[in-house]
């Protein structure tokens, strides 16, 4: 894969919708003065037909490629976005926005409530995947793009992709849904609940009003991240990476991080709290738990996809992903087939667990390259 060359055009900013264009929420209310932070790569062509929207996962953000402003690390999907990559900025206008409820520039629980002048905290309304997508649709429309060539996402990003297909089928040409599901399972909800309880058990959480007191529930959020991180891997990946290797010579006969895997998790938890807001974590995990695309359609998933019959779908899963296992993707594909949509599906052999969608998986790269090339050339 060619990694040379710079991205031809890179842009970004924050779109402020103001008081006249509130975001309608699934909970029944609305959110005024919404701001959506976004980044883009490549140039929108004259007829605005080359736009691809990338939807990010739970703790990721709009910094798909390039350098992350907080962590200083490389963007999270540079293996897909860049010169010579499946989404080449020379061909595509690639857009990604921070979800509403997030903490990387879009309006979320950490934003200032214009009504009080203080951070929202728990007065922020509960948002859904549908709300995130509605905000994206507002952004895309504001940019003058009437139809996206494709919507692409993994994990929670895949949920948004499916929501796009259900809510705005006429405004998208193709969908790529990687390592995701059409609903959160009991196990998914249970795992999220552990994380939320860890955050809320931290005395520095202060009922969500920690910003008022100038503290942060870092310990609780770190524990939540440690637990979640295990679910992104697999038994095989953990064994391969760490086995029973020790940090130092011999056991400490205490509760220090004796094992390398403990040290790794502690590091993951510690690094996470520097870039993520605890209340955002609560709100976004809640949005995922509430996600059940079939629910408004009498529990029949195919009905949700029926208007998307002319959309091309590419659904990918990984063999060792136990967070969103292959049967969840097959469930989506069956419903797409039942709805008569053009669905493709591939289960990729990998021992890397759920995180495989972010890692070195050449089969995923070539499948996405093939699919996206066919979208671009209109085949």
């Amino acid at each position: 894969m060619d990694s040379g060359g710079a991205i031809t055009a890179e842009d970004g900013g924050t779109w402020a919708f103001g008081p006249a264009a509130p975001l309608r929420l699934d909970s029944g209310g609305q959110l005024a003065n919404v701001e959506i932070a976004w980044r883009s790569w490549g140039t929108l062509n004259a007829d605005k037909s080359n736009a691809v929207l990338i939807c990010h996962a739970l703790t990721l953000d709009q910094h798909v490629a390039g350098t992350h402003p907080v962590s200083g690390k490389e963007g999270w999907w540079t293996r897909l976005v860049g010169p010579g990559r499946p989404l080449d900025p020379a061909d595509w206008f690639i857009l990604c926005s921070n979800v509403v409820g997030g903490c990387m520039g879009s309006t979320g629980p950490g934003s200032i409530d214009p009504a009080t002048g203080a951070p929202y905290g728990l007065t922020f309304p509960v948002i859904t995947i549908g709300d995130m997508v509605r905000a994206q649709a507002m952004l895309v429309e504001a940019m003058g793009i009437s139809k996206l060539a494709a919507v692409v996402g993994g994990s929670m990003g895949g949920m948004q992709v499916l929501q796009w297909a259900a809510d705005y089928p006429e405004r998208i040409g193709a969908c790529v849904c990687v390592a995701s599901a059409a609903r959160h399972s009991a196990q998914n909800i249970a795992l999220h609940e552990v994380g939320r309880q860890a955050v809320m058990a931290d005395p520095d959480w202060r009922g969500g009003a920690y910003a008022r007191d100038g503290v942060r529930p870092e310990k609780g959020l770190a524990v939540a991240r440690m637990a979640a991180h295990i679910t992104y891997l697999s038994e095989a990946a953990l064994q391969r990476k760490f086995g029973r290797e020790l940090q130092n010579d011999g056991l400490s006969w205490g509760f220090d991080a004796d094992f390398q895997v403990e040290s790794y998790l502690r590091h993951q938890g510690g690094a996470f709290v520097n870039r993520f807001d605890a209340n955002s974590y609560l709100y976004i995990t809640r949005a995922m738990d509430y996600f059940d695309l079939a629910a408004p359609h009498g529990g029949v998933l195919a009905e949700a996809f029926r208007p998307a019959r002319n959309v091309k779908f590419c659904v990918l899963s990984f063999t060792s992903d136990w967070l969103y296992p292959t049967p969840e993707s097959r469930h989506i594909v069956r419903a797409l087939n039942a709805a008569g949509a053009r669905a493709s599906f591939l289960e990729i052999e990998s021992d890397k667990g759920h995180d495989a969608f972010l890692l070195d998986e050449p089969v995923m790269d070539s499948a996405l390259r093939g699919f996206l090339d066919s979208v671009r050339t209109g085949r």
Binding site: G298, N337, A343, S344, F345, E349, V363, R369, G370, R379
Partner: protein, 215 residues
């Protein structure tokens, strides 16, 4: 072009919906899309082949004929194609009846175990036949449910299917229309291709179908 592809291309009406089960790298689907403007879908077991299909812009689902046909809605296609694969399935009878639940017509081709080369090989060597149509030894062949043309014809009767067309296929030669009821064809046809449709009542959706599709 493969002779069975040529024959399938001839049989399929333009503008129809076609499901190719075991579509490989999508060669037939691409041919049918280009020459007959069909709305094609595929099912394929190998990840690499699915990936190749995606690059051709084809809609292909990874899966196998035994397990994943159940998930397609009833009468979703005009044709379901199963090329040289029936003998490798675990439950050919179920697969065949599923093809004719999903589609109005099925196009099925398979190597004929009644062909004279097979008979001759078994008779003279007394060992499992290895012929040009069936080149692999018994211990590695994927063909676990081989049948003769006469066996297959009996199964179509049993499932109350109508034979709309049958042809004998020999490598490098044009397809030859045959009457599958004639005993001589069971000796002569190296490979057979059938175009089948249901004779009896409309197929019923399965239990899972009803649940999934709200039917």
């Amino acid at each position: 072009m493969r002779e069975d592809f040529r024959e399938i291309l001839r049989l399929v009406r333009p503008g129809t919906r076609v499901l190719d089960v075991g579509c490989g790298e999508g060669e037939l689907l691409e041919l049918l899309s280009r020459e007959k403007s069909v709305d094609g879908r595929g099912v394929e077991l190998e990840a690499q082949n699915v990936s190749a299909c995606l690059a051709r812009g084809l809609a292909v689902v990874q899966g196998d004929a035994d397990r994943d046909l159940d998930h397609f809605p009833t009468k979703a296609f005009d044709y379901a194609v199963l090329s040289q694969t029936l003998q490798a399935t675990r439950n050919p009878r179920h697969v065949l009846s599923e093809l004719l639940r999903i589609a109005d017509q099925a196009i099925v081709s398979f190597p004929n175990f009644g062909h004279w080369r097979v008979r001759w090989s078994l008779l003279t060597r007394g060992r499992m036949p290895e012929t040009r149509a069936l080149p692999e030894p018994w211990w590695s062949t994927p063909n676990i449910h081989l049948c003769s043309l006469a066996d297959f014809a009996a199964l179509t009767d049993d499932l109350d299917l109508r034979v709309d067309h049958a042809a004998a296929l020999v490598r490098g030669q044009a397809a030859r229309p045959i009457d599958p009821g004639r005993g001589i064809e069971n000796w002569r046809a190296e490979n057979a291709l059938f175009l089948l449709s249901r004779r009896g009542a409309e197929p019923e959706p399965t239990g899972e179908q009803r649940d999934l599709f709200g039917a």
